[in-house]
Symmetry: C2
Subunit: 245 residues, 2 copies
């Protein structure tokens, strides 16, 4: 078992862990596509978009050239619209508005207060594949009380490549075992564990919508399994902190 | 005259512009050195330390190897203590506590509320030579409402090298003319202007202590001269914003 009193900073995955990407994207898609008479369910669009998410980033990590998440999202959206035969009915401005939907997503009910509670004893950071501008917009719009924003963009490699985790630890000027990675996704935590971070799994049963098959706590190898961010704050408070200077 | 309605983000110098480094360092130095019976005025130590600040960073920019600000500060402190003949009376823990004094500095009276007011219409970021960890500690301790933290560390070059300004603009996903650099130091603004940012000079007459010769507004070539951060917030609010998405 990990020594939680050694933890100085908590790095959080964002999409799915802190914010409800599916509801946010689906709502915006319905609002933008219905007036165009396009019969494509927002939730389905969100799911198909998210399905292309990891493969598109994997291709960047496998290649030599860094590409921004917004650009990957724009390409994935074009593929989905074409697959549904509606590509010629969705103009550039609407596509851009859809891509920007990922910049403003609703937090889970516990996120704002839970992060604030964690922040009372530790530094709280994002560690997301969203770009720095996307995360800045998202954190500001939802008033998420992060102390500092870290993005894969700073390492120019996407999670689960080890580079973004190492970059965050280095920029925090900490050792890996002083940093706790929080996510609703085991793959993210596995990669963090691979570079020496402590890990906490938070279950987000609604992440993929009704019957969508979100990842479950029972399948996690994390050091800590928590029910929500309040629960994590309590566990950390109980453990105290060695204290940052 | 710059079109303020084009400004989407405000990047702020920190030491001297947002926080009162001299009072913070002097107070901490007096508290740490007096008990050791060392007769070195805290304000004088702060001034001598700050005098070594720009040269130490200039040496890094001129060289091939990036070095963290904390390391530069540690070396400068050693020089000062040696120059005063007290090197052997200040142990490692005290030196470390002195270096960490730069991680917790008091904001100017208008800083917290002024930044919050600016944040109502624009993204507000740090753009400082302090490291990411230092800035995270400082912003958190003083509850400064920055949306995102940018440090020269991200570019591995110190201001006034153009790289940190360019890095901030790129990470904001903006054009230079959409970013307003705010500082109490003309050299900082001159460098920002050199890469196309808009500039605002804020006068901090007490930055260098009584009779310390802080930079004055009359000598500034900035697009905007403001009396404090509330004044800047008013000017920006008056100009509106094109609006981020």
């Amino acid at each position: 078992m990990t020594d939680l009193s050694a933890i100085e900073a908590v790095t959080c995955d964002v999409f799915g862990t802190v914010v409800d990407w599916r509801t946010g994207v689906a709502t915006r898609a319905d609002a933008l596509l219905s007036p165009l008479g396009i019969d494509l369910d927002g939730g389905r669009l969100a799911d198909e978009w998210r399905a292309r998410y990891a493969p598109s980033m994997g291709a960047v990590n496998a290649g030599a050239r860094w590409r921004h998440l917004d650009d990957l999202q724009r390409e994935s959206l074009a593929e989905i619209l074409a697959a549904h035969g509606v590509a010629d009915r969705v103009d550039e401005a609407t596509r851009e508005a859809l891509v920007r939907a990922w910049h403003r997503l609703p937090p889970w009910p516990d996120s704002v207060a839970g992060l604030r509670a964690i922040g009372e004893s530790r530094v709280v950071a994002t560690l997301s594949n969203g770009g720095m501008a996307l995360l800045t917009n998202l954190v500001k719009a939802a008033r998420l009380p992060f102390d500092v924003i870290f993005s894969a963009e700073l390492a120019r490699r996407y999670k689960p490549d080890p580079a973004p985790y190492r970059t965050a630890v280095a920029l925090l000027d900490l050792r890996p075992e002083q940093v706790l990675m929080v996510a609703a996704h085991e793959g993210d935590l596995e990669a963090a564990r691979g570079v020496g971070l402590a890990t906490a799994f938070v279950e987000r049963p609604d992440e993929r919508g009704p019957g969508g098959g979100a990842e479950r706590a029972a399948d996690s190898d994390a050091d800590l399994v928590v029910s929500d961010l309040h629960d994590l704050a309590r566990r950390l408070r109980g453990a105290g902190a060695a204290g940052t200077g």
